[in-house]
Amino acid sequence: MNHEPYESWLFTVESLTADQSQALKGHLETCEACQKLEAIWNEAETLLRNASPAYPTPGFTARWLIRLASRRSIEQQKKMRRLTWWFFAFAATSAMVFFLLSMMQVIPIFNSPVDFFIGGIYLLSSTVSMTNALQELVATLTRVIIQAIPPYWLAGLFSMAGLLCLLWIVLLRKLLLPRRILS
């Protein structure tokens, strides 16, 4: 016996037309195998439709909130680890660049050490002579100021500077020290 298209109609999701329903009904009256198949599928589908839904155990939302907090903490740790790695990479790159630049400065020493030492001695002697010149300038300026300003003015200026320093120290202590909490 030909069971098509009846076997397909038994399992279809679409609704059958009136003619199709009539034809299926007629076929089922004469075909034992299709009758059996229909009964089997009806039983199985009834089971699916009547199966009670499963529910989670009480406290699902509370457990979810705990899980969310835990996931956030893990994410935070990952973020910190990433940041540490970035910092490390930046530091390593900087060190590498510094090393390369230093090498560029050092290499000429190996190429011509005599020139390097002569240059160094020249730099040293010019620094010493510049320091001497500065020292003389400061001494001359001090002498001029002492001669130009009367002694009581100088005493007043130094006293004022001392008082300002004292005020600065007091204010600093007052502002930086933690306030005492009164119970």
């Binding site: 999701v13 679409e14 034992e32 089971l47 699916l48 499963a54 909130l65």
Partner: protein, 196 residues
């Protein structure tokens, strides 16, 4: 479309408390989908929790034009499909999974026995289906979703959903026939071996 839903609106702004109320509201359907898909209460709990977590973290990706429950069930279904595919690699027999910890809605030893028997039969039916077909059957029979919604949730076409559901029904009928009628007549054997 879940317009004018204050908890959802607040959750979309990143309000954790509002999202917790959505977890409260949708925990049943999401857990049931996970349980029917995975067949194990511990795994279902894990999958449902992970579903809500993914939804919360990815709430910015939620398309307001679609239903929120469909979006949630879509996340749950895809997560369970992935889990089932991974499980396939590790070859865990479905029968060995426990189901003692299902929250039983019916009290009493007899009803508990019936409930467990029913769960086992349902599991046997779903076990033969591939993960995607299983998701379609669960959404169709337990979540009362239309073919359109199922297609949307699983990124399939409506005709693919229909043909997969048709195939799944044939598969389930085959399993049910084996369980309920171990000695079929010769005519039925001949017919079923050809059709099922």
């Amino acid at each position: 479309m879940d317009y004018q839903d204050p908890p959802l609106e607040k959750a979309l702004q990143g309000d954790e408390e509002a999202f917790a109320s959505l977890v409260d509201r949708y925990q049943g359907p999401v857990y049931n989908l996970c349980y029917r898909m995975l067949g194990d209460s511990n795994e279902a709990e894990e999958a449902a929790q992970e579903t809500f977590l993914r939804a919360y973290l990815g709430i910015k990706r939620y398309d307001r034009a679609k239903s929120f429950s469909t979006w949630l069930l879509s996340i749950a279904a895809h997560y369970c499909i992935d889990r089932l595919r991974r499980r396939k690699m590790t070859l865990v027999p479905f029968d060995t999974l426990s189901y003692e910890e299902i929250a039983d809605p019916l009290p009493g030893p007899e009803s508990l026995l019936n409930f467990h028997e029913q769960q086992q039969q349902v599991r046997a039916l779903l076990d033969v289906l591939n993960p995607t077909d299983r998701a379609i059957v669960v959404m169709y029979y337990w979540q009362d979703m239309s073919n359109n919604e199922i297609a949307q949730a699983l990124n399939l076409t409506v005709s693919a959903v229909k043909s997969r559901l048709h195939r799944a029904r044939i598969e389930m009928a085959r399993v049910w026939r084996k369980d309920s009628n171990p000695n079929p007549t010769q005519e039925v054997i001949r017919y079923e071996s050809r059709t099922l």
